[in-house]
């Protein structure tokens, strides 16, 4: 029936939804026309970090014709117990962080809702608060696990003895600030009730997860909640689970009997949807004269909230990067009067590898050894802590090939040697890694006609290219051209998909899609009469059986910076990433993901910082004018390439995740280049010019 077609996987196919996106026809959560009686909601947020809300007074004259409801814990519908306490919105008088939703105004117009919310009188009894992370905090404690389920502390050998004995050691502390995901589309929900069923047009990374979570709060089984997530304007982790906007919109729709739209204002994203925890990381490295590491110690201090324990896995990458007989990693937390930190692109690896990879650079300097050679000499043969062999590891190849492509070899290792006009120029390198994961998912394929297939899975495309690569995967598994495949995603009523997170989307969903398509093909090619026009596949069992350890993507970043000797301004003249991330499913979208991660890494190195005001108990730069992310003018030469890596122990496609590895290591490469340019070691991110200037 089918003729052999050229494989679609590996082809640089243009994004399927691209034409809609460039014409403004792609619809996002706040853009659905859901009836003439649509109402708008606006959140009144807490102006204090800790306290009690005793009452809310509404001025009856304000927007009187348009206000439909003012909800707060004194009158809001009761929700069922929430696993995530931040979703128990308007349920209690307790204020746990500044920016917490205290009241919700629902009005006929957006303008009226906003004005009425601004004029609410919140009767608050304020308590003292503590929002400052420090290494001598009396309430520091060691959690049992760090995300998602790693032991918080590991140790083997005798680290202290190794440090005593080592001829060369490095003992450095790096700190990274709180960061905010800041997707361009603020979190938004349009909610309506159809009888007892709830419909949510919601911007998120996991439609079935949102359906289950929000449903549980309203005592509804997941199938009674329909989450539509056709397009998502970025998430970077902050939309991985339901956020308060979905619950508030559903509540408001229930109370008013109208469809309700709640699009969070940009400022609210700095408190209500999560952030990356600040970290203070001490890294100690001990080495023999030849550069071989004898001990690695990585201890992390970070925060969580009063509401619950979120323990970022900052030191976990250190457990498998380099060989050393004596090793220790640990995490300590303090629970502050802050919003709960959440996932932000490469949670753990991104900040953790800043400290490790900068410390490795410092060690290379101490040893007078090329930083690439130092890394090569410490290449492990198996995963050092688990003893499990790597399914594939081409880190050294990334370093070597990257060095060739970047032009590393004639580098003078001494700092502060190249000067052109007012610019000091330097180069730096750093390693990258990200775990390869897959999570259970189910997909369905239907043959609609001899040359037309519909493939369904409740996945979300946040701009990753998921819709496109899944179409390619399905086409290959069905052995038909991509033009015959219609991919349906972004709807919780489709077969259950795992979250678009942890760089696991394509592996998880592609596995299910492959399984379903192969099942359909084998049933139709079998001579029996059971030939069917539909097949479904659930990957749970296969994933359950899989070895989880030893599976990682690797990469190497190279940066060239120039630092203005007069102003201290840093410009990244070149940024180059070489990756070994399994089979690349679509080179066009993959390159964009790598580059996007690297650019966010540049932001982490140079621009991004949520600035805490301890007196107010919040971050003060809570908008896009003051929370700086890279702009067009910050980008000069930037490129990503990859090795042709085969790994048949992963999933049917042989792919590793690529959404996050770009941000891992790129900040360290830039910081190392700043040192090489100027001799100034920045150990407190970001590398603002006021930290550099006094030293050059």
């Amino acid at each position: 029936m089918t003729t052999t077609t050229e494989r679609a996987v590996g082809q640089p196919i243009e994004r399927i939804e691209g034409p809609d996106k460039v014409r403004g026809a792609a619809r996002y959560a706040a853009e659905y026309q859901v009836g003439d009686d649509l109402a708008y909601a606006w959140v009144a947020q807490s102006p204090v970090a800790s306290g009690t809300l005793n009452g809310v007074t509404v001025d009856p004259l304000v927007e009187a014709d348009d206000v439909l409801a003012v909800l707060w814990h004194g009158n809001a519908p009761r929700l069922a117990e929430a696993d995530d306490p931040e979703l128990a919105v308007l349920q209690s008088e307790r204020i746990s962080y500044r920016g917490q939703a205290l009241a919700l105004v629902v009005a006929r117009t957006f303008e009226a809702a906003r004005r009425a919310a601004a004029t609410l009188q919140l009767d608050i009894a304020e308590d003292p608060h503590d929002t400052v992370l420090r290494t001598d905090h009396p309430e520091l404690y060691a959690p049992e696990k760090v995300n998602p389920a790693f032991p918080a502390a590991t140790s083997s050998g005798d680290v202290d003895a190794a440090f005593e004995a080592a001829p060369v050691t490095v003992d450095v502390t790096y700190s990274t600030p709180a960061l905010h995901n800041s997707p361009m589309e603020p979190h938004a929900t349009t909610a309506l009730w159809a009888g007892d069923d709830l419909v949510l047009y919601d911007s998120n990374q996991h439609p079935p997860g949102i359906a289950a979570t929000v449903g549980a709060l309203f005592d509804l089984p997941p199938e009674r909640v329909h989450v539509i997530t056709e397009h998502v304007g970025g998430g970077f982790g902050s939309k991985g689970t339901a956020r308060p906007n979905a619950v508030l919109a559903a509540m408001a729709a229930k109370v008013t009997g109208r469809p309700v739209r709640l699009a969070l204002p940009r400022q609210a994203l700095f408190s209500m949807v999560g952030h990356r925890t600040p970290t203070i990381q001490r890294v100690r490295l001990a080495a023999a004269e030849d550069g071989r590491l004898t001990a690695i110690d990585h201890e992390v201090v970070e925060h969580s909230s009063r509401l619950f324990e979120f323990a970022e896995q900052t030191a976990v990458a250190t457990r498998h990067m380099y060989a050393a007989p004596n090793r220790r990693t640990g995490h300590q937390l303090v629970r502050l009067d802050m919003p709960t930190p959440r996932w932000m692109r490469a949670p753990g690896e991104a900040p953790g590898m800043v400290a490790l990879e900068c410390a490795m650079d410092e060690l290379a300097v101490a040893l007078s050894l090329d930083p690439i050679e130092l890394r090569v000499r410490n290449e492990p043969s198996v995963e050092p802590e688990s003893g499990v062999p790597f399914s594939s590891r081409h880190y050294v190849e990334c370093l070597r090939r990257g060095a060739d492509r970047f032009g590393w070899h004639d580098r003078d290792p001494r700092p502060r040697q190249r000067r052109e006009g007012d610019w000091w120029i330097g180069t730096g390198v750093a390693g990258a890694t990200y775990p390869t994961m897959a999570q259970p998912s189910t997909a369905r394929v239907r043959r609609l006609a001899a040359d037309s297939y519909e493939v369904s899975i409740a996945a979300a495309d946040l701009g990753t290219g998921a819709r496109t690569i899944l179409t390619q995967i399905a086409a290959d598994a069905l052995e038909v051209p991509v033009s015959q495949v219609r991919m349906r995603i972004g709807d919780s009523t489709l077969p259950k998909a795992s979250v678009a997170g942890g760089s696991s989307g394509s592996a998880s969903w592609g596995w299910a899609v492959t399984g379903a398509c192969r099942a359909l093909r084998s049933s139709s090619s079998s001579s029996s009469s059971s030939s069917s026009d539909e097949a479904t596949f659930d990957s749970s069992e296969l994933i359950e059986k899989q070895e989880k350890d030893g599976k990682h993507a690797f990469g190497a970043h190279f940066a060239e910076v120039r630092v203005d000797a007069v102003t201290g301004e840093v410009r990244v003249s070149r940024l180059f990433g070489m990756f070994a991330a399994g089979k690349i499913l679509n080179p066009r979208t993959a390159r964009s993901q790598f580059l996007g991660g690297m650019i966010m890494g540049m932001g982490m190195a140079l621009h991004e910082e949520s600035v805490l005001d301890p007196a107010m108990g919040t971050w003060v730069n809570h908008d896009l004018a003051e929370y700086h992310i890279p702009a067009h003018a910050d980008i000069e030469s930037i490129e990503a390439e990859w090795l042709d890596e085969q790994d048949d122990q992963l999933n049917p496609m042989g792919s590793k995740g690529i959404g996050e590895i770009g941000i891992v290591g790129s900040p360290a490469a830039i910081l190392n280049a700043i040192w090489h340019a100027t001799g100034v070691r920045i150990r407190d991110l970001p590398a603002r010019l006021d930290k550099i200037l006094p030293h050059i």
Binding site: K21, G24, E31, V232, G233, G596, M600, A631, H632
Partner: protein
């Protein structure tokens, strides 16, 4: 008030506080222009007002009686095709603003307007010029390196 949007006359009865962006999105159903910040900080809401690029979130609609507005839905420009070819976007949320901004920027450029990086003499449309002139449009996905060649090639056509 009356407004010409994408060539069609529109009569609107608006709250005086309604921005052009909200008038387009909530009253005219033209959701192509995006709201990223509502404060003139991101460029996602960029449209063409009487041919010039503006942040529509910063303008009150009632001040615009008789003006002509072009939104992404009314744009038909080579830069759109070039964005597809170069993968000049990921999530697509900044994209309508980037494209409207590019169209407006190319027009400014063709009229000889200088930018902060223009030297003496007539500007030439180098990559640094494009980046400088497009820097009011943020992209959190980091699609910048793909947008610049897309805009350059569209200009060359």
């Amino acid at each position: 008030m009356d407004l010409v949007v994408n060539g069609a006359e529109q009569s609107l009865d608006l709250d005086p506080r309604t921005t052009l962006l909200d008038a387009l999105r909530e009253h005219l159903g033209l959701t192509g222009a995006k709201k990223g910040c509502d404060h003139g900080q991101c460029g996602a809401c960029t449209v063409l007002l009487d041919g010039r690029r503006v942040n529509s979130c910063l303008i009150l609609a009632i001040t615009l009686s008789g003006s002509e507005v072009t939104t992404i839905e009314g744009v038909d420009h080579p830069v759109q095709q070039k964005f597809l070819e170069h993968d000049g976007f990921q999530c697509g949320y900044c994209t309508p603003g980037q494209i409207c901004s590019a169209v407006g920027m190319l027009d400014e450029f063709s009229q000889g307007w200088p930018s902060a990086v223009t030297g003496s003499g007539p500007p030439d449309l180098s990559d640094p010029e494009i980046r400088e002139r497009m820097s009011g449009n943020l992209c959190r996905c980091g699609a910048y390196p793909n947008m610049v060649p897309a805009i350059r090639e569209a200009a060359e056509r």
